[in-house]
Symmetry: C2
Subunit: 284 residues, 2 copies
Amino acid sequence: MAILLLNPGQMGAALGAALATRHDTLWVAQGRGASSRARAETGGLREVATLARGLQQADIVFSVVPPASAQDTAAAVARHGYQGVYVDANAVSPATGQAVARTVQAVGARAVDGGIIGPPPQQRGDTRLYLSGPGAAGVAALLEGALFEAIVLNEEAGSTAASALKMAYAGWTKASSALLLNVRALARAAGVEQALLDEWAISMPDLPQRSERSATANAHKAWRFVGEMHEIADTMASQEGLPEEFHRAAAALWERLAAFKDDMEAEPAAVFEQLAGGGDAGSS
Amino acid sequence: MAILLLNPGQMGAALGAALATRHDTLWVAQGRGASSRARAETGGLREVATLARGLQQADIVFSVVPPASAQDTAAAVARHGYQGVYVDANAVSPATGQAVARTVQAVGARAVDGGIIGPPPQQRGDTRLYLSGPGAAGVAALLEGALFEAIVLNEEAGSTAASALKMAYAGWTKASSALLLNVRALARAAGVEQALLDEWAISMPDLPQRSERSATANAHKAWRFVGEMHEIADTMASQEGLPEEFHRAAAALWERLAAFKDDMEAEPAAVFEQLAGGGDAGSS
């Protein structure tokens, strides 16, 4: 049995490495750069040249791509007439997840809904792949004993529980970080940043550090949160009466930090300044 | 010297009681109900029948009213030709604070900007009245040694630093609470609430309780957060590039809980159900 892992980004490579400890796990070299290759090789994945070659061999495909690419990836797989199991493990809305499922089911594949919570794992317990829908238990079995834990939510036909869970979870983590940066940037823009830090020191003593850690940890990857925030906003909008604007705002805020892409040395003050309208990151 | 306290709501009465320990402090009975009277009498405030009577005697006026009433309160005071010190201690945007200042300055009063952070205090250290603008130090002196601490941010003409600080501070506290209720309601609406609680128990163990505490603590007063959230959104919008939608969403969410007004017994599950679209609070 062979597994095709699309694609060895940071999270995809971590999942691929977990699968590759016990299963023949492939990656597609075409269109991927040197860092994907390095991650795939470190993780013990077997190279195939093209998507067509990979799909010829694969019984199971995992899609781990940016949210905005989830549908295109499914469509590319469907164009090859793939008929195995297709696990969409992306941070997408239930509606996007359903569209992905319809796309691959149209050519005879079986769709399993997935959602990843946690960082690329360093140890067991760090990270979970949630799964839902018919076939979820079979997919989970592939990860038995692996660093990457699999949890089956249900096996009901058409379930998007895994995607919904991911949206609710990231709807707090990534949007609360955005909100915290937002209020600190407001205080800076209004000339009361030090007063806010002094008040926080009295009444919310974790916030000065937490806001700075959030700036440092997130600025360099903010660009890739934007699509996820819109998926969450779409999910909110699909539920009667839940406001979608929290996550539209979070998308706008993370987008404003896109200039820090891959800048691992961003100083908190530079991040707040960028948000407060005075920054020039990326403008040179 | 006499101080007029407008009005003895929960926070106003707490500030009034702190002032009344050392100063003759008045409240206006006209238009106020039995619970205002009880709070005013408990706090040692002296009753006057009408706003006109109070303003005839007052050297200093404190306005502690819902944000949406801040301008009307200032206008009512100005109509009486009041020429003393006017402290707007409300949770309003700097722009609203400036409009209030212009209103009272037009008839010869001196405006001081204020902002309250903390609950009605039980002990010194719980709560601070921030003050900014010319005359701030004189106002702060009234609270020397009081349960209610006063902090002067600056004495610059036209400063709205106290209002800006309040907006940034509440921009986190009240909007992050709204966001947390929002994601839990989403999980409930999507049928994954238990899965979210299980995941939170692993990776964010304070959130199950925190979301429930937030529901219990805030539902009964959510109705009065709505105006404040719009003031914060306006403040964000006034700064180039800061998204206002976080706080529009928070306003919408708190508004949806308005049905729990004064319901001190609201169960968390009922609050989440109301947000998730299935609740019937207030519909009977």
